[in-house]
């Protein structure tokens, strides 16, 4: 892979970081290219120079956090996280649907077991909540854990 395509790939990766705008990435790219040129001059190959320059740039998450701290006006972007925002809503619905189905099956099971064998004490019916509540609790625990993660 040529140095140019490596740099543009790096740029595509960096621009996906929350809290970094195009100007920031221009500035970081200028820095990266300088560093690569200096390392080239010191005798490193394009590949080696690129690797060292990227490593020296540091952890992108940490750098992005620093940018976010400085540019709090861009903080809302952090809430979306580095992933694709479009995927968040559907996965939430799918999860809710799965929980609902499992809960329905659990209730149905409890009813069947309670009716059979005949005249057995309706222990399962009386304790249906025992089967359903953990599922709901699990769903909401997951839901709030996700929300918390977004805010941190």
């Amino acid at each position: 892979m040529s140095l140019e395509s490596q740099v543009s790939e790096w740029r595509r990766f960096v621009i996906s970081a929350p809290a970094l705008n195009g100007h920031d990435v221009d500035e970081l790219e200028d820095h990266l290219r300088h560093q690569i040129a200096d390392l080239n001059a010191a005798g490193l190959s394009d590949d080696e120079a690129f690797m060292v320059a990227v490593k020296r740039m540091g952890d992108l998450d940490a750098v992005s956090r620093e940018f976010a701290r400085e540019h709090s006006d861009r903080l809302w972007k952090q809430l979306l996280g580095p992933g694709d925002k479009a995927s968040a809503a559907p996965s939430g619905w799918v999860e809710a649907l799965v929980v609902a189905c499992v809960a329905a099956v659990a209730m149905e099971l409890a009813r069947i077991v309670a009716d059979f064998p005949d005249k057995s004490p309706p222990w399962f019916t009386r304790n249906a909540s025992l089967f359903v509540l953990p599922l709901l609790a699990g769903y909401f625990a997951g839901y709030f854990a996700r929300r918390r993660r977004l805010w941190n």
Partner: protein, 119 residues
């Protein structure tokens, strides 16, 4: 020698301001000067310099503008302001107090401002 993170963060602002007090500059050149001045003993993550420079801009310590040098790429330059020079002088006084105090508190190290690596 590895310099503690907090110490590095505390010294970054006066160091950058001091470099800019010598004349306007841009990110990569500033970082090279830090490496040179510390003889490679202060190793920053390069990327961290930029949020710092932007903070100095927000505080009014530096001004910034994009220019394209002849035959080069468009680049962002930083220049120190009067407020920046005042802040630098203040930092200098604070660091003088800290180094003076440490030097008298740690007599076994002698003048620790000249101590190197091994300590």
């Amino acid at each position: 020698m590895r310099v503690d993170k907090d110490l590095m963060a505390a010294s970054a602002t006066p160091l950058v301001l001091a470099i800019l007090a010598e004349g306007e500059s841009y990110g990569y050149a500033i970082l090279k000067q830090v490496r040179g001045l510390s003889k490679g003993e202060l190793e920053w993550s390069d990327g961290m310099l930029y949020p710092l420079l932007h903070r100095l801009g927000r505080l009014g310590y530096v001004t910034t503008d994009w220019r394209t040098p002849a035959g080069g790429r468009r680049r962002r330059y930083y220049a120190i302001t009067d407020a920046g020079r005042t802040a630098l002088a203040d930092h200098q006084r604070q660091w003088a107090v800290v180094t003076r105090t440490l030097t008298s508190a740690l007599p076994m190290f002698g003048d620790f401002t000249t101590a190197s690596g091994g300590a």
